[in-house]
C-alpha cells in the first residue's frame, strides 16, 4: 500500500481543529479571562488575554495533534526495534518555522506596544508617561511605607487617608511612590500594577467603569509583613465620593495640619534613630 502524504493529512487535521477550536476558545473563555472588567484598563487586559489565547490556540493544537498523530500513525509494531531513516534537514520546514514564529512574536510585540501606548494599560509609566489620556483626571497619591498603603488626594486639601475610594467613570491619575523600600501597588480588579519606589513618582492611569470593591495588595516582597500589606478599595458614585472625601477631610484634619506640603515624592529621613 502506498504511503499516504502525512504532511498534507496532518495539515488538514490541524486546520480543521484550529477553525473549530479558536472561535470556541474566544467565545467561551474570553469573557471569563482575568482580571475582569472593573475599569477600561482591566477590560483592555481581558481583550489582550483573549488575543493571546486566540494566537496560542493554533500553536497548542499544532504540538498536541503532532504528538498524537505520531503516536498513532507511526507506532511501531510490537517486537520491532527499527530506527527510522536519518533526517538531515528540510529547508522548507526550517524556513517556515522561522518565518511563522517570527511573525507571531513580532505581531504580539507590535500589538503590545500599541496597546501600551493607548493609555498605559494600567502599568506605571514613570514620572513622565509617554501617553497621557485626555480630559480631566483625579490625582491620587499612593504612599507605600512598610506595611500599609495610605492615599493622598492633592485636589482636596492634600488630605491623606488609609482608605482608597475612587469615583466611577472618572479617569484617575495615580502617583505611586514609596517612603522606604521597594513595594508594588496592585489593584487587581482595576487592572493596575505599578512599582512603588522611594524617590520615584510612578504615574498610572485608570478609569473605573462600575461600582465595586477591589483588592489592593503589595506585589513586591518588602519585608516580614509583605503578606499582610493587603486591603480593599471601593469605587463609588460621584455623589458618594464627594460625601466620603469631605468626611475624610474632617476626620483627618489633625493629621493634615502636620503633613508636609504635597509633593510627588518624599524622603522623610528621620532626624534621629531609635535606641
Amino acid at each position: 500500500m502506498a504511503e499516504p502524504n502525512h504532511a498534507r493529512r496532518f495539515g488538514a487535521i490541524w486546520l480543521v481543529a484550529t477553525l473549530i477550536a479558536t472561535p470556541l476558545v474566544v467565545v467561551l473563555l474570553g469573557p471569563i479571562l482575568p482580571p475582569g472588567k472593573g475599569s477600561e484598563q482591566a477590560s483592555g487586559h481581558v481583550t489582550d488575554n483573549t488575543v493571546l489565547l486566540a494566537m496560542a490556540t493554533p500553536v497548542l493544537l499544532l504540538v498536541v495533534i503532532y504528538l498524537l498523530y505520531a503516536v498513532i500513525v507511526f507506532r511501531q509494531p510490537q517486537g520491532a526495534a527499527l530506527e527510522g531513516p536519518a533526517v538531515r534537514g528540510d529547508s522548507r520546514i526550517q524556513t517556515s518555522w522561522i518565518v511563522i514564529t517570527s511573525v507571531l512574536v513580532l505581531s504580539l510585540a507590535v500589538y503590545g506596544t500599541v496597546r501600551l501606548e493607548e493609555d498605559g494599560a494600567g502599568s506605571g509609566g514613570g514620572p513622565s508617561p509617554l501617553v497621557v489620556p485626555s480630559g480631566p483626571k483625579l490625582p491620587v497619591q499612593v504612599l507605600a511605607p512598610q506595611w500599609a498603603f495610605t492615599y493622598r488626594y492633592p485636589t482636596y486639601g492634600g488630605v491623606e487617608t488609609p482608605h482608597l475610594v475612587l469615583p466611577v467613570n472618572q479617569m484617575v491619575e495615580l502617583h505611586v511612590t514609596s517612603l522606604d523600600v521597594i513595594h508594588s501597588f496592585w489593584a487587581y480588579q482595576l487592572g493596575v500594577k505599578a512599582d512603588a519606589n522611594p524617590n520615584v513618582d510612578n504615574v498610572v492611569f485608570v478609569k473605573p467603569t462600575r461600582l465595586q470593591t477591589f483588592e489592593v495588595r503589595c506585589a513586591e516582597l518588602c519585608g516580614i509583613w509583605h503578606g499582610a500589606m493587603f486591603d480593599h478599595g471601593h469605587v463609588v458614585s460621584a455623589g458618594e465620593f464627594a460625601t466620603w472625601i469631605h468626611q475624610q477631610q474632617v476626620a483627618f484634619a489633625p493629621a493634615t495640619k502636620v503633613l508636609p506640603p504635597y509633593s510627588k515624592t518624599y524622603l522623610p529621613e528621620p532626624v534621629r534613630r531609635g535606641g
Binding site: A148, L179, D180, D231, P260, V271, R272, G274, G275
Partner: protein
C-alpha cells in the same frame, strides 16, 4: 554482608541524620514563636473590659534577649512582671484599655500621617494624662498599630537629654518615660498583626532591619478570642 546492603544502610543512616537535623531546626523555629500573653480582664462601671499594659524600651537587654540585647522592643505586663512577648490575647467584641510606658527617645515618623491617633475610642490618646488628637511627627518614638482593626496610635519619645533614661529592660517608672493610654474595640475573633510604623531599628539600613523585621520585638499578633 554484601556491598549493596552496606551501601543501602549507609544511605539510610545519612537520610536519618539529615531528617533529624531538619526536625531539630523545625522544632527550634516552632518553639521560638513568642508565647501569647493574655490581657487582664476587669469590670468597671461601664461593664467588662480588658487592660493591656505594655512598655517600649530602647534596648531589650540580655535578660530577655541574649542574642539581641541592644534591640528595641515591646514588653508586656503579666502577673506583675514584664514579659518579653508581642503576642497578646484579648476578648472579641470588647473594649481594650491600653497603657504604654514609653522609655525610648524619638526617631520620627516616616509618614507624618500617623501622627494622628486613629481607631481609638474618641479618636484620641492621652499622653501623660493629657488628651491629644495628634503629636509632633518628629517626636514619635514608636507606634502601636493594628492596621486590620484601623488602630494607629503614635507614641512620643522621652527627651534626648533625659538624665535618668532607662538603659535596658525591664524599665520601671522611676526612669524617664511617657505614659500613653487609649482604648479601642476589638470586633470579631481572629489573629491580627500589629506593628510599629517608626523605622526604629537602630544600626540597620534606614532603621528598617533587625527588630523591625523580626517577630517578637516591634511587631506581633493580637489574638482576639
Amino acid at each position: 554482608m554484601s556491598l549493596f546492603v552496606k551501601k543501602l544502610l549507609g544511605v539510610g543512616a545519612a537520610m536519618a541524620v539529615v531528617g533529624a537535623l531538619i526536625g531539630l531546626y523545625v522544632a527550634s523555629w516552632a518553639s521560638s514563636f513568642p508565647k501569647s500573653v493574655a490581657a487582664v480582664s476587669t469590670t468597671t462601671a461601664t461593664g467588662p473590659s480588658t487592660q493591656l499594659t505594655l512598655e517600649t524600651v530602647a534596648a531589650v537587654g540580655p535578660r530577655y534577649s541574649p542574642a539581641h540585647p541592644d534591640w528595641v522592643s515591646y514588653l508586656v505586663r503579666s502577673n506583675g512582671q514584664w514579659v518579653h512577648s508581642t503576642v497578646y490575647t484579648v476578648p472579641a467584641n470588647s473594649i481594650v484599655h491600653v497603657t504604654i510606658y514609653q522609655f525610648d527617645s524619638p526617631t520620627g515618623l516616616r509618614n507624618p500621617f500617623m501622627a494622628q491617633p486613629e481607631g481609638t475610642i474618641g479618636g484620641t490618646e492621652t499622653i501623660d494624662g493629657k488628651a491629644v488628637n495628634a503629636i509632633n511627627p518628629e517626636e514619635a518614638s514608636h507606634t502601636f498599630a493594628v492596621p486590620e482593626l484601623g488602630v494607629f496610635v503614635p507614641l512620643p519619645g522621652i527627651p534626648e537629654e533625659a538624665k535618668n533614661a532607662c538603659e535596658f529592660a525591664p524599665c520601671e517608672t522611676s526612669s524617664a518615660h511617657r505614659t500613653i493610654t487609649f482604648s479601642f474595640r476589638t470586633g470579631k475573633k481572629g489573629r491580627y498583626r500589629w506593628q510599629c510604623f517608626v523605622p526604629c531599628g537602630a544600626g540597620f539600613l534606614s532603621g528598617n532591619g533587625g527588630p523591625m523585621q523580626t517577630l517578637g520585638y516591634m511587631d506581633g499578633f493580637l489574638d482576639v478570642v
